[in-house]
């Protein structure tokens, strides 16, 4: 590539090595629509491409799924080095992902180099080897097109990719690669320096070693430490030791071995070795999840944990001390750290010690491994799933005070290494590393703003670090539940303020007000949330405003509880009062019906308002959230969107226009042909509360229309959604004409669904109440008790779904389901 090439077009990619990472990288490339040649050694027996083929077949068995749609596997072409090297000439990017052996990798580079296209980029997915050393095997001309490209496992889901340039890497080539990884693959790219384990693993693995060290020092159990270092610290649930089991103890041992070998001058080097208990596990082949036993082991239903002193397993029973748990609940990080430090409890002292040593390490290594503090923080967040980066945590807790504490502990000989904190940490004017104008770079001794690479203009609100502005545009209208705002253009962005962006009465009010306001001069409205999910659906429990002082009885459940309590007590009191209870019940249900009607009106207004509406979806869009997006003119969804109509799980049918929408879409798709075939697909999706496991599955089910684009990068979502809205507007937007002749399946289709359900009930696959819900769902979706092929309008279907939802709400079993779900977060099958 020359720097004149303004645009790097990736037609095809080759992945060399079909191991766990190679195959999954290939899978993510086809998720993004990039055809892949997947190379592996020729098989000794049978089909010579059999090794790559088996790796492709194996993708279907991995959980979480590497492929967004199983059929995409057909676009990964199995290859082997003896026959298919000629095909490399058509590849614009070649990613090497073979075993971590310098000699093997060098041999492979020598073998493939003559086959590469002159413009192709060659990149190694090594996680531990030196990129400069690898580059030495390459012909001079190829070195400028070579770099490291470090994906994290599982590559579809982990946001981070580290690009590791060599001194010879061409700058324009790196920019092109970063652009491709960002927009096409949806990854968060960080440029790392060519140091062992790069940024995220260097810090992440050190953090694990620090936990190992202090677990032993404070005499804590492994399960106890996992309880301390998981979600309570803003890290993944699997915390430290379970993560090690999942990753594989041999893999972990390998990474630690690399650090021991390659970092002899690291002041923490004495700690870069396996603890005896871990050495023992690896030697005995107890490697964690893949060998069904490692640090933890399942014994029947119980989890047992290794006792490092005896090498025997014991029940995993130790938990966090309530007092320590209280400390961890303290929101203010400064107060939290102070309390941890002052506590005499070994769990608290452990937590301070691991945090302190991790911060000490990051401060010491920052200059060597990363350009600036933002890069390190984002790398750890994106690569290890931490909520906050190390420096963010430090800065939030008070830079100077924490620095002082660490310095004190260094002086007192409590830290894992005795090196002093770098001078920049202790500089008198320093209050942190993150500021509005950039992040501190100790190697450049200056503050670094964000990259100006054009691709980042597509991210109006990138993943912010502490100190960066998290304000979103200018407010047009704000209620307790929603906010309508713009970024200075004339597109309204509507964001919900409720928890998990659930939709209660207040959100319905807010949406109505926002649409009114937008009608006064805005080009259109994009529904976009500042963070996922899009929406978990109707609020079943109460008011959705997070800071409402006086809860209003607006949620379905609080309403229902009252209804049922009143009805029950009335029944108990006296027979003659039943009429009163009935009336009361009827009165209440009328109110519920009123809310449902408003939900439907809101959905309808999203479709029929005089300007375009676009739903920008990332994460879950369930129930009412799904109904909202189905009514917008367009939905733009990130690949990791999980969309479904899940109402039957709580004993209901979709009531915000979802049933109507399914019936309508089936009729449209049937184009006058066999309607039932189309209805059946929808019915199965709704009756089983099916949630698409990717935007592609949502498209396959039908929640997304073929015209609804899928976006790979979460932070480009709003950019694309606005572009879609502008395109709708540019063609002279008119809302769709109302559908007043929708062909329905009628009583015959309903009976056919019922026949199927009858068998499920008789076979004990579903409960009586499941049967009732599903037959009601069928009734609504087929247009009610009318002849097959009857023509109805939208209101007909909306009335049916509303009446049916209210009828189900009146059943005790549906009420029990809702209550159970609210209490436990899990569905109840009754």
């Amino acid at each position: 590539m020359t720097s004149n090439d303004s645009r790097f077009i990736v037609r095809r990619v080759a992945v060399l090595g079909a191991g766990v990472m190679g195959a999954q990288i290939a899978a993510h490339l086809v998720n993004a629509g990039v055809p892949v040649l997947l190379f592996e050694l020729p098989a000794k027996e049978g089909d010579p491409a059999g090794n790559a083929k088996r790796a492709i077949d194996g993708l279907a068995k991995l959980d979480p799924a590497p492929l967004a749609d199983a059929a995409l596997a057909a676009h990964i072409h199995p290859c082997h080095y003896d026959a298919h090297l000629d095909a490399l000439v058509d590849c614009d990017l070649v990613i090497e992902a073979i075993a971590e052996r310098m000699d093997w990798k060098r041999d492979l580079f020598i073998r493939v180099a003559p086959h590469l296209a002159p413009h192709a980029i060659l990149a190694s997915n090594t996680s531990g080897l030196s990129i400069e050393a690898l580059a030495e095997a390459l012909p001079n001309a190829l070195r400028q097109r070579f770099c490291g490209i470090h994906f994290f496992n599982p590559p579809r889901y982990m946001h981070l990719v580290e690009i590791v340039p060599t001194a010879a890497s061409d700058g324009a080539m790196l920019d092109a690669l970063e652009t491709f990884l960002t927009t096409s693959l949806g990854k968060g790219v960080i440029r790392a320096k060519d140091t062992p384990n790069f940024i995220a693993n260097r810090v992440g693995v050190f953090s694990i070693l620090a936990v190992f060290h202090h677990t032993q020092a404070f005499g804590l159990g492994f399960e106890e430490v996992d309880s301390l270092t998981g979600t309570r610290l803003g890290r993944p649930k699997s915390a430290t030791y379970r993560t090690a089991d999942v990753v594989g103890l041999d893999t972990l041992a390998h990474v630690i071995g690399t650090m021991e070998r390659t970092l002899p001058d690291d002041p923490w080097h004495p700690h870069f070795r396996l603890p005896a208990w871990l050495q023992g596990l690896v030697e005995r082949g107890q490697l964690g999840q893949k060998t069904r036993g490692g640090i933890f082991r399942k014994e029947g239903r119980d989890i047992h944990v290794l006792d490092p002193d005896t090498n025997a397993y014991r029940p995993a029973s130790r938990d966090i001390d309530p007092a320590v748990a209280e400390i961890l609940k303290v929101k203010d990080p400064a107060a939290r750290f102070r309390a941890l430090r002052e506590s005499q409890h070994p769990q608290a002292r452990f937590l301070w010690a691991v945090t302190r040593d991790m911060l000490h390490y990051c401060a010491h290594q920052l200059a060597a491994i990363a350009d600036n503090a933002r890069d390190l923080d984002l790398a750890v967040r994106w690569g290890f799933g931490w909520k906050e980066g190390p420096f963010e945590l430090w800065q939030a807790a008070g830079w100077r005070e924490v620095a002082g504490w660490i310095a004190d502990d260094i002086a007192a000989g409590r830290t894992m290494a005795a090196v002093p904190l770098p001078a920049w940490v202790l500089a008198s004017e320093r209050t942190g590393v993150h500021a509005a104008d950039g992040a501190w770079s100790p190697s450049a001794q200056t503050s670094r703003p964000r990259s100006t690479l054009p691709v980042y203009r597509r991210q109006p609100f990138p993943d912010a670090v502490l100190g960066e502005s998290r304000t979103y545009g200018t407010t047009i209208l704000e209620t307790d539940a929603v906010r309508l705002w713009t970024t200075g253009d004339d597109i309204g962005v509507l964001s919900f303020k409720s928890k998990m962006h659930a939709i209660g009465e207040d959100v319905l009010d807010g949406v109505a007000q926002a649409l009114d306001a937008a009608g006064r001069g805005l080009e259109g409205v994009v529904i976009w949330q500042t963070e996922p999910p899009f929406s978990v659906g109707a609020n079943l429990s109460g008011p959705s405003a997070p800071r409402a002082d006086k809860p209003k009885p607006s949620g379905f459940a609080s309403m229902l509880k009252k209804v049922r309590r009143e009805a029950e007590s009335a029944i108990l009191k006296a027979a003659h009062r039943l009429n009163v209870a009935d009336a009361l019940m009827a009165g209440r249900l009328e109110k519920v019906e009123g809310i449902v009607a408003r939900f439907q009106e809101t959905s309808q207004s999203l479709r029929y308002c005089p300007f375009p509406t676009v739903a920008a979806v990332d994460g879950m869009a369930l129930g009412g959230g799904c109904e909202f997006l189905m009514h917008c003119d367009r939905t733009v969804a990130t690949l990791e969107s999980y969309i479904g109509l899940v109402e039957v799980g709580v004993g209901l049918v979709p009531g915000g226009g979802g049933c109507k929408e399914m019936a309508m879409r089936a009729a449209v798709d049937a184009k006058g042909g066999d309607l039932f075939a189309f209805l059946r697909r929808w019915f199965e999706a709704a009756a089983t509360a099916r949630v698409g496991r990717s935007a592609m599955e949502a498209r396959e089910i039908g929640f997304l229309r073929p015209s609804d684009p899928i976006v790979m990068h979460r932070f480009e979502l709003l950019h694309v959604a606005k572009a879609e809205l502008r395109a709708l507007s540019a063609r002279g937007y008119r809302p769709p004409l109302p559908s007043d002749a929708i062909r329905v399946g009628g009583r015959t289709a309903a009976a056919t669904f019922r026949a199927h359900l009858t068998n499920l009930l008789a076979g004990g696959h579903i409960s009586e109440h499941d049967f009732l819900i599903a037959t009601k769902l069928a009734h609504v979706m087929t247009g009610g008790d009318v002849e097959a092929g009857s023509l109805v309008d939208e209101r007909w279907l909306l009335d049916l779904e509303r009446e049916t939802l209210v009828a189900l709400l009146a059943t005790e079993r549906t009420q029990a389901r809702i209550e159970h779900t609210l209490k436990t977060g899990k569905p109840l099958r009754n």
């Binding site: 009858t758 068998n759 696959h765």
Partner: protein, 399 residues
């Protein structure tokens, strides 16, 4: 005794191999082609017969739509090269359709209204799924509880029978193992050779490399269903296919299949006129209804009915082809009527050999007719249960 005026004799009985559905050897083969082939093969076995003497072709088909719709009998007989003067009619009694076709063909002769008839059956469960492409129930089925059995899938009715007649999972699995054992042994010793009409499959496939249509041909002459290594251990691993806590599995149920069979029947006068060899005499046929939700017990009522009607005693029967819709219902029928397991499906049954719904009756008639003759036995029976609650049974006498 029946009030017939003349006897109907079977002068040819053939059938295609049976393929597994929906992914077996006949997955892309049309059922009208299978039937035409069976018709041609049967006529080839009776070269002295003047085809224009055939009065009518009665064809059984359980889901007569799409590739086997449009009166498949008439279309296939024309494709088979029969004169246009020969008529054709398609009949449907679900799983008894093929036997029903043979019986209706025989009855036309027995009444003296025809001298040469064909009874046949065809079904592709690969191309036309169980229930057809467009199931459309009558909502009246659900107005009360009394008709809900109509909606029951066949598997669910088998569960009901297993429950009510106390047929254990082990007994069902053992029955299935034996079915496969018998079918494999019979195939190996060539027991199906006389009835078999080997079929040439010719598939037109796009060859994306050469950009041409290539025609792939191969001749198949054996049933695809019998599976070596069908053991109790292997079957025990299967999960219930219909009821969550049930006993009926894919392994102890009949296989879904594709195939066709044809039987030519003639009066004594026609036998003489065309110099035909009578293989067997059609003795009689009866049907009976039972509650739809326990359709599998249909033969319990149909068998005594046909025996009474024909005056043949159960003890006279040397060979019974009892269609193994499910091991559960087969065992319930055998136990209830005291049928000797040794003479029921001696060559294996539908669990191993497959069950192409409407074709099965004609196919198993061919098996029975040749089997009785080979073993020099006199009376034999073809019987089966029928969806929505019926049983059918036909009695044949080998000559």
């Amino acid at each position: 005794m029946s009030k017939q005026i003349q006897d109907a004799y079977i002068v040819a009985a053939v059938r295609t191999p049976v393929g597994k559905a929906p992914r077996g050897m006949f997955r892309q083969v049309r059922p009208d082609d299978l039937l035409a082939h069976a018709l041609r093969t049967a006529l080839a076995r009776t070269p002295s017969l003047d085809a224009s003497a055939i009065d009518d072709v009665v064809v059984g088909c359980a889901i007569p739509e799409a590739e086997q719709g449009m009166n498949v009998a008439r279309i296939a007989l024309l494709l088979a090269g029969l004169p246009s003067s020969v008529a054709g009619v398609t009949v449907n009694r679900f799983c008894a359709s093929g036997l029903q076709a043979v019986a209706m063909a025989a009855d036309r002769i027995r009444l003296g209204e025809a001298d040469v008839m064909i009874g046949a059956g065809t079904e592709s469960m690969s191309l036309i799924p169980m229930g057809g492409h467009h199931i459309a129930f009558n909502e009246a089925v659900f107005r009360g509880d009394e008709h809900v059995g109509i909606a029951y899938g066949m598997g669910m009715t088998a569960e009901k029978v297993a429950e009510r007649w106390k047929v254990s999972r082990d007994d069902q699995d053992a029955f299935a193992v034996e079915s496969h054992r018998r079918a494999l042994a019979a195939t190996l010793e060539g027991a199906f050779a006389e009835e078999m009409a080997p079929y040439e499959i010719a598939l037109h496939e796009p060859d994306l490399a050469s950009r041409e249509v290539i025609v792939k041909r191969r001749v198949v002459g054996h049933d695809e269903g019998p599976r070596d290594g069908t053991t109790m251990e292997a079957l025990a691993k299967l999960r219930p296919a219909f009821a969550a806590k049930g006993s009926v599995t894919a392994g102890n149920s009949s296989q879904t299949s594709d195939g066709a069979g044809t039987v030519i029947l003639a009066s004594e006068a026609a036998v003489k006129r065309f110099g035909l060899t009578p293989l067997a005499r059609f003795v009689g046929f009866a049907v009976a209804g039972v509650p739809p939700e326990i359709m599998g017990i249909g033969p319990i009522h149909a068998i005594p009915k046909v025996l009474k009607q024909t005056g043949v005693s159960q003890a006279d029967l040397g060979w019974i082809e009892l269609n193994e819709a499910f091991a559960a219902q087969s065992l319930a029928v055998m136990r209830e009527l005291g049928l000797d397991p040794a003479i029921v499906n001696p060559l294996g049954g539908a669990i191993a050999l497959g069950h192409p719904l409407g074709a099965t009756g004609a196919i198993r008639t061919a098996t029975l007719v040749h089997g009785l003759r080979r073993r020099r036995q006199k009376y034999g029976m073809v019987t089966m249960c029928v969806g929505t609650g019926m049983g059918a049974a036909g009695v044949f006498e080998a000559l």
